[in-house]
């Protein structure tokens, strides 16, 4: 359905070029749940924005983003608008900024369908109630009359997800949907996304920095670092037998509530510079397993991992 091919995203800034995404390719099929995991500066959010045609003005995207055969990067804005409203929906990190504080919930939900599907008031409202039921908003009828500030943070994110579902999209891009929320609310929202996905057959791309959230939700995981894919695998093997030093490091660095405390194993060093297009493994400067050739060549993604060292030799 969605197929991203050798996507590159660059930004022109006052201090020169920033290479945010460097040759990333992946596919998402109908009804699939894919997670894109990365830390800040990994380019994960820029990828979502590129798919939605929402990149900032100083950005350049190369490569192809194919949506049912059409390249979204070259689509005229009017076409892109229609796809954005009806076929691909995005859920942002901060629910507050996705909602208009001066509009009642009803208007925010119905506006899109009235505009893009030509639904009447009554039909649109019926759709809104149906969707609010799907995202488990109690007393939906009363909530329709409310303004955003009258609702709690968790409720906001439910409304935002409801907005995303209004046009029955085929794909939802969820960009850090729970990062701004408390753990108890996060658990509810993740469960909700998972139920919605199951009931409506929507594909979901979950973009997050939190491996814990991924483990309970997705079937397939892409691990990004420095704008490149480090590892791509099904969830279970990725967590059980991580095959890339970065994935291993990331998993070790998460403090586990259950495990008795030993020393956390940190990944040394700082996030990568993005001033130049990578010509060597971007993780090499921080990698405990790096050898001389890691600092000279750029490993390709083969067999789901982009690493020069064989799995057996990793620490």
């Amino acid at each position: 359905m969605l197929s991203v091919e050798t996507l590159r995203i660059r930004f022109r800034t006052g201090d020169g070029l920033v290479h945010a995404v460097n040759d990333v390719s992946f596919r998402v099929g109908a009804g699939e749940k894919l997670a894109i995991v990365g830390e800040s500066g990994s380019g994960k959010s820029q990828m979502a924005l590129a798919v939605m045609g929402l990149l900032a003005k100083n950005a350049e995207a190369e490569g192809r983003v194919l949506w049912e055969g059409r390249d979204l990067l070259t689509l005229p804005p009017a076409e892109m608008n229609r796809i954005r409203a009806r076929e691909i929906a995005i859920v942002f990190q901060d629910p507050m900024s996705s909602l208009n504080p001066y509009m009642r919930i009803e208007r925010q939900l119905t506006e899109i369908v009235e505009q893009h599907e030509g639904l009447g008031r009554a039909a649109a409202r019926a759709r809104a109630l149906e969707v609010m039921d799907a995202v488990r908003i109690p007393e939906a009828r009363a909530r329709l009359r409310a303004y955003p500030h009258e609702l709690s943070g968790g409720m906001h994110q439910r409304i935002v997800i409801a907005m995303a579902l209004m046009c029955r999209p085929k794909l939802i891009l969820a960009d850090e949907p729970t990062t701004a929320l408390d753990v108890t609310v996060q658990a509810q929202i993740m469960q909700l996304l998972s139920e919605v996905q199951r009931d409506l057959g929507t594909s979901v791309v979950l973009i997050t920095h939190d491996l814990g959230v991924v483990a309970g939700f997705c079937e397939e995981v892409i691990v990004l670092y420095g704008g490149r894919i480090m590892e791509q695998a099904a969830t279970l093997p990725l967590f059980e037998r991580p095959a890339h030093p970065y994935t291993r490091g990331l998993l070790r660095a998460v403090p586990n509530v259950e495990d008795p405390a030993d020393e956390l194993i940190a990944i040394p060093g700082s996030p990568p510079s993005q001033r130049a297009f990578p010509t060597r493994c971007p993780f090499a400067p921080r990698c405990v397993d790096a050898i001389e050739s890691c600092r000279l060549t750029l490993p390709e993604l083969t067999g789901g991992r982009a690493c020069l060292r064989p799995v057996e030799e990793l620490t």
Binding site: D182, A187, A215, G216
Partner: protein
């Protein structure tokens, strides 16, 4: 060495007033929290956003007004109105902050930032001694002295937090208050900073108050954990016991919701239904009861006192019987 007894913090908020002279609303941010911190130990404070955990330590530091309650440092009561007492508090209790970049003045070099406290707490040092001490401290937190003339924006978030730690520790305080010090950092960097704090603690016998919303991090660094909700303590227990065998219904709900990075573990979060009470108008009785699955009528009678559990204490009248 640091004891906080029955701390209350309130704020006035200008709610939509009927008249200019009608009284302002009063937010009850912290409602009677007590804890004791021993030298070289770590107490963790967890809770969700708005539970008053940051306000509590800001009040201890003197950055927020303590409405009621008592703070004692080395057996001496801290008088927040007296300059001398405050100076004594600040020379022994320092703080690091949530936003590593915003906590450094963008117009000062990092050497100036780290040397600044020495001008206040070590007036006997001359400029050169201050500079050397600042460089040594920067080196200790892993920032090479060659970079000391740079400005904060030239460093990453994790490095900025290291610089913040250097500033807090350069005058050798005994207690470090940590206000969500790693929540703005990436996982891989988070671990670096946590390890650095632990190493410094071992070396100089520092006591830490570690406030965070991430139970995993708090569990990892703390000896003892305090769970807060709506400005009140729900449960206090040694870190291991709290995670293994939570007593209070809120602690249980919180723990059940923590995502586990292991796809084989099926997380079954207990859903917290119901609304939070308004901090402008606190209800009688247990503050958690509006969302508690175990609540009964008696829970609304009076604020539950802390009762001992097998390893700590909890504020609940319906604790499971000790096994």
């Amino acid at each position: 060495m640091l004891t906080v007894t029955d701390a209350h913090v309130t704020f006035e908020v200008a709610q939509t007033k009927r008249w200019p002279w009608s009284p302002p609303g009063i937010v009850h941010a912290v409602n009677g929290v007590s804890f004791t911190l021993k030298a070289g130990r770590t107490i963790g404070i967890v809770g969700e956003s708005g539970c008053g955990k940051s306000t509590l330590i800001r009040a201890v530091a003197g950055l927020a007004p303590l409405a009621q309650g008592r703070v004692t440092l080395d057996g001496q009561r801290v008088d927040y109105g007296s300059r001398a007492s405050m100076q004594r508090l600040r020379s022994r209790v320092q703080m690091i902050f949530q936003d590593p970049i915003a906590s450094l003045n963008p117009r000062m070099t990092i050497r100036e930032i780290v040397a600044e406290p020495l001008g206040f707490f070590r007036p006997e040092m001359d400029a050169e001694a201050r500079r050397d001490a600042a460089l040594a401290m920067l080196d200790r937190v892993g920032i090479p002295a060659t970079q000391a003339n740079r400005f904060p924006h030239e460093f990453s978030g994790g490095q900025c937090q290291r610089i913040g730690i250097a500033r807090a520790l350069v005058a050798e305080p005994k207690v470090l208050l940590c206000d969500e010090p790693v929540s703005a950092l990436d996982v891989s960097i988070q671990a670096q900073v946590v390890n650095l704090l632990k190493a410094l603690q071992r070396e100089i016998g520092l006591a830490l108050v570690f406030v965070a919303h991430d139970l995993g991090v708090v569990r990892h660094i703390s000896d003892e954990v305090l769970v807060m909700y709506m400005g009140a303590t729900m449960e206090r227990a040694p870190a291991g016991a709290l995670v293994r065998d939570p007593q209070h219904p809120y602690t249980r709900a919180l723990l059940s919701a923590v995502p586990v990075p292991d796809p084989r573990v099926k997380v079954a979060p207990q859903m917290l239904e119901g609304d939070l009470p308004s901090p402008l108008d606190l209800p009688e009785g247990c503050l958690f009861r509006s969302r508690c699955s175990r609540a009964v009528a008696e829970c609304g009678a009076a604020r539950p006192p802390m009762v001992p559990t097998c390893s700590g204490e909890a504020a609940c009248i319906r604790l499971p019987a000790p096994a």
